[in-house]
Symmetry: C2
Subunit: 301 residues, 2 copies
């Protein structure tokens, strides 16, 4: 990729567009709230609005478009069906964007993959050839760099680490399964568990503050979540033979109350020689990672 990339980040609460320089710097960003509508064209109008703004901000023609989207996506068709955008089921985002921005390559990736790509290119995962980038937030998601390249899988949905089963008898998950790491360790589930134990706070942010102040229930809640995440990480490492895991998202901002028990649990679960020295680090780019990573989708083309 030699010129400026137009990038899109499509999520359930906002749709963002931006411009990314060839060296991976985000130099412009614009956002629209994701319309709460059943009409796919109303949602598209918001996306188109951000595209128009970003193209106006570009000083010259963009050389490609990278799209990061909440999942599930279907890469072979270039369509997306984001769980939190019910108006879009099988929405042909790649074709619609290609029609709106003529004559340049358009690449699509899951938001987990784009986060991993962003951290790999310009953030905490630089230099790792086998990387899991993951986000612990309202949900838990992720993406994989394997052998230095983005790994999309059969349908574009590889890296759905939040729905790895870490406890076959565990709590029910929104996906319909039970014992998914997301159903134990996502922000809302951490807070809900703590409240069941008698904690009186509202959400994961408050829970992190309580844990940092030494609240026993809050500390136990993070330890329980960290243990589930560590089991999941050890499992991904055993299957994919990784060198690094980068963790971002709101819950990761909790810091040591999450990362200390996580690293301790990893020493229990990651025992095979080739995974025992796995590096687990905090993400560096924050919310920018998805836009930067969407531009990285164009780097191989």
């Amino acid at each position: 990729m030699t010129g400026t990339a137009l990038v899109l980040d499509i999520g359930g609460t906002k749709i963002a567009a931006g411009l990314v320089d060839p060296d991976g710097r985000l130099r412009y960003e614009t956002r629209q709230p994701t319309p709460r509508s059943d009409d796919p064209e109303k949602v598209w109008a918001a996306a188109e609005h951000t595209i128009t703004d970003a193209l106006a901000a570009a000083e010259r023609t963009v050389t490609g478009v990278g799209i990061s989207s909440a999942g599930p996506i279907h890469l072979p068709d270039g369509t997306i069906s984001p769980v939190n955008i019910p108006a879009w089921r099988g929405f042909p985002i790649r074709d619609r964007v290609a029609a709106a921005v003529d004559g340049v390559p358009v690449r699509l990736g899951g938001d987990g993959l784009c986060m991993a790509l962003g951290e790999h290119w310009r953030g905490a995962g630089q230099g790792a050839a086998f990387l899991l980038g993951m986000v612990v937030s309202t949900g838990i998601g992720g993406g994989l760099i394997l052998d230095g390249a983005p790994y999309s899988g059969r349908t574009g949905n590889a890296g759905h680490v939040g729905h790895m089963i870490v406890d076959p008898d565990g709590p029910p998950c929104s996906c319909g399964a039970r014992g998914c790491v997301e159903a134990i360790a996502s922000g809302p589930h951490l807070a809900a568990w703590a409240r069941e134990q008698g904690w009186a706070g509202a959400d994961a942010k408050e829970l992190a503050e309580a844990a940092s102040s030494g609240d026993e229930i809050a500390l136990r809640a993070f330890r329980r979540g960290a243990t589930a995440i560590a089991a999941m990480i050890a499992s991904v490492a055993a299957v994919c033979d990784l060198d690094q895991v980068v963790i971002g998202g709101g819950v990761a901002k909790a810091g040591p109350v999450l990362f200390d028990p996580l690293r301790e649990a990893l020493r229990t679960y990651a025992r095979l020689d080739f995974i025992a020295d796995l590096r687990v680090t905090t993400a560096a780019l924050g919310g920018e990672a998805g836009l930067v990573g969407a531009a990285a989708l164009l780097r191989d083309s």
Copy 2:
């Protein structure tokens, strides 16, 4: 690969060599018991013996050597440290074989990967571009075909599915962790659990016979193992976005007493759209898969 491949399969009980035709047919096989010795050269002598026999059986020069080895291996160095061959720690198998069979490419892969490659080329996994091949036996291991190509990972150990954590509070595993699927669902662990419940038989083979005859404890033992395997498979599928899983090994021969509860548990755990239609099938090649797959290591070169 256009000519005959010399293949080696290195395990804790036997070392086998063979010749594989360009179309993936194993047309010669010879075996030596793996020497119980602390001397690495004694073990090498057995391997060399099989190589000499196989070369003598080849009607013309072989065009490459493929080596399947029990793990862990270290692909960047071409060395192996099989758990059950204590004399070989960091043994330079690739260089030694290259010195013994002059002037042809030598490729190394883990035994799980070679099993997957064998089933992918000539067995039950033909046509799958995203395949997990796995063995349930004394241990549980596996290998991955991603995007139609063997996936080795950073060190050559990708596909160690037996050490995925399916129960953070689960039983201790030989790897040092706890709750690994191998520590629950391998043959010896299935039988040990059944004996703890009062079953009087000896091993997993007898347990399969008992389950097939309707023994309640034996059926429960297989259901418990199948549940753990299903959780593991759902997890690999969520991370790697697969289209098929092929299961081989002695315990898989138990048939419906394993596969019926496994498929039932998969319906519980594999709920995301892109993994809900995952195919799970029985391996077709048996013990041959590793030798055939070792030849497949040469196909890309």
